[in-house]
Amino acid sequence: MNRKSIVELNQICKIYQQGKLQVTAVDCLSLQIAQGEFSALYGPSGSGKTTVLNMIGALDEPSSGDVIIEGKTLAGMDRTALSRLRRDRIGFVFQAYNLVPVLTAYENAEFVLALQGVPIRERRQRVMSILEEVGLADLADRRPDELSGGQQQRVAIARAIAPEPAIILADEPTANVDSATANGLLDLMENLNSNKGVTFLFSTHDQRVMDRARRLIELKDGKIASDGVSP
């Protein structure tokens, strides 16, 4: 059965101007990510992983080509529409967690739901259940500086999955944590993918992430060097 396409990249290029030099970060790349995938972009530094992720996340726009999210082309959308798209359909997990330091774990997890205007009672139910799922229900009242790196990343995952987005983009989510914590985080994301059908796209160097990913897309010089199911 064909799964619904979440992300579609059609011949996207990203060219940066550095002084008089033009640097091609992404070179006419086409790619599709379907619902329920657990995929990873990998490749050496400068291969274009982050740029691709930024363009899928509507944080950056391609110099040419189309980025299509759930059938909608991003080109021509204004700032507000892009902001709404990110809020409602895309979840982000950052390498440096990027939680709001003045909010508690609970408040960080409910941040996007609050932006969406979800009623407070529904928010509470959803966030508490997600915090339970990521193993942080007991630490809901703690602020980020009172949590370990792994716990902070769990809060970031809770924040990303709370609004039930179409896809979660995770940039090096295990880069700042120890091995045991990294495995715990990957278990958590794998479970969310298998049990709830949450689509994940990673950008990574981490072999542990590549070992878990079911599709590996290798980037080299802004192009797809290989794309296949993980052995």
Binding site: G57, L59, S83, R84, R87, L115, L169, S203
Partner: protein, 415 residues
């Protein structure tokens, strides 16, 4: 995201750097202190000057013949002053009214002749609080109803004419028909205000006697002087008075028209006061702008992340502006705490400046109270609060704009 959520984020963000926030709020509090000091001392001295000027003859509002203000003359008078006083007594805000005749005369004693001014008053009705000269009688007393030949003269004029109590003085003036008339009076009192130009030229005479001399009718006078509770209401009450009287043969004027010098002085001083406060406000706003801008610059990545996960630029602007609001509010509360004891002391006791300015300091011929006190009118307090918030919010505008222009992709470097 509700306003409460945004306000919570803003408040907690300010608490991240408590010392910086506190110092900025203190600078706002200092601004409140200065603003209250400038405004309250201004409100007090302007009221004091206007009220004092009103007691010198014309009141806060004057009802007179249409041309009297431009060309004062004993030939210009109004009639039925009792009726006017009755009608105006019902107007809210009016405390007292007096019929008076004002004019110029030549005063002569056995030794000398001196030109001066007189104010003819009804001794049975006049009260010290509404008559500047009565306050300063240092010898004798105000003539009574029976003393139709009584006169109260200024101390300097008495010196020039070598007058003492119970001495005779002849005054000569021009009556309503243009005839020169003279009368004899006996000194019943001498006043000394401390202002030479007043003490050397002014006398008080009984209105009944002056009416006889000038061929005025029983209720005829130069003017009716109205005294009101609050000088700020002069224009409104003058308008109501005109509407009630509806008489083309009279004109109702406020102190702004009859005592232009004092009104001009007050307006000029008030404008320079506001300008000074504006400059102080600008300095304080620069401090707030610096704090908020630093807060924003330090949180570029945080704002970038918020926008990455879907917060709109408008909400980012709100967060920063609410931070400005909190600083304003905190500064206002601190300012009230700092200012209140000083304000209470100054409004009750005041600061005696007589050592520096003496007791006869005057502006535009009006004696100024050497004790500086504070009064803060409601509208002035509202203006200060509004001004503080306007300045703090204005100071937050640029940082808010900067925050809203942050591009998530640049601030996060990588997602």
């Amino acid at each position: 995201m509700t306003f409460t959520d945004l306000a919570t984020i803003s408040w907690r963000s300010l608490l991240r750097n408590k010392r910086r926030t506190f110092l900025t709020a203190i600078s706002v509090a200092f601004g409140v202190f200065l603003s209250v000091t400038f405004t309250a001392s201004g409100d007090y001295s302007y009221t004091n000057m206007i009220d004092s000027s009103a007691t010198m003859g014309l009141g806060h509002i004057t009802i007179e013949s249409p041309n009297f203000n431009d060309t004062p003359s004993l030939a210009l008078s109004i009639s039925q002053t009792d009726k006017i006083q009755d009608l105006t007594s019902a107007i809210p805000g009016i405390e007292a009214s007096f019929s008076r005749i004002l004019g110029q005369a030549i005063f002569a004693s056995g030794s000398k002749t001196v030109g001066g001014q007189f104010m003819a008053i009804d001794p049975t009705k006049e009260k010290t609080q509404y008559n500047f000269f009565l306050k300063y009688i240092e010898q004798g007393h105000l003539f009574s109803e029976d003393e139709s030949r009584g006169i109260v003269v200024g101390a300097k004029l008495a010196e020039k004419l070598k007058l003492r109590l119970r001495k005779k003085v002849v005054y000569t003036l021009t009556d309503k028909k243009g005839e020169i008339v003279s009368a004899v009076a006996r000194v019943s009192g001498i006043f000394r205000s401390g202002e030479d130009s007043i003490d050397g030229s002014m006398v008080l005479l009984p209105i009944k006697r002056i009416r006889e001399i000038l061929n005025y009718k029983e209720q005829e006078a130069s003017l009716v002087a109205l005294f009101i509770k609050d000088q700020r209401q002069a224009t409104d009450i003058a308008l109501q008075t005109s509407q009630i009287l509806q008489d083309d043969s009279i004109k109702v004027l406020t102190y702004k028209e009859t005592q232009r010098e004092i009104a001009g002085l007050v307006a000029m001083d008030r404008a320079s006061n506001y300008f000074l406060q504006f400059l102080v406000g600008l300095l304080i706003a620069a401090g707030i702008l610096n704090t908020i801008l630093m807060n924003v610059m330090e949180r570029t990545k945080e704002f970038g992340m918020m926008m990455a996960v879907g917060m709109s630029p408008g909400k980012i602007v709100s967060i920063v502006l609410i931070e400005s609001f909190w600083i304003g509010l905190l500064g206002l509360i601190l300012g009230a705490l700092i200012t209140l004891p000083f304000y209470l002391y100054m409004s009750e006791v005041g600061l005696d400046l007589s050592r520096y300015i003496g007791t006869d300091y005057n502006a535009a011929g009006v004696l100024i109270d050497p004790v500086l006190k504070f009064i803060l009118f409601k509208e002035s307090a509202c203006a200060i609060v509004t001004g503080i918030f306007a300045l703090t919010m204005a100071a937050g505008l640029y940082p808010a704009f900067r925050a809203s222009r942050i591009t998530p992709v640049d601030s996060l470097k990588s997602i």
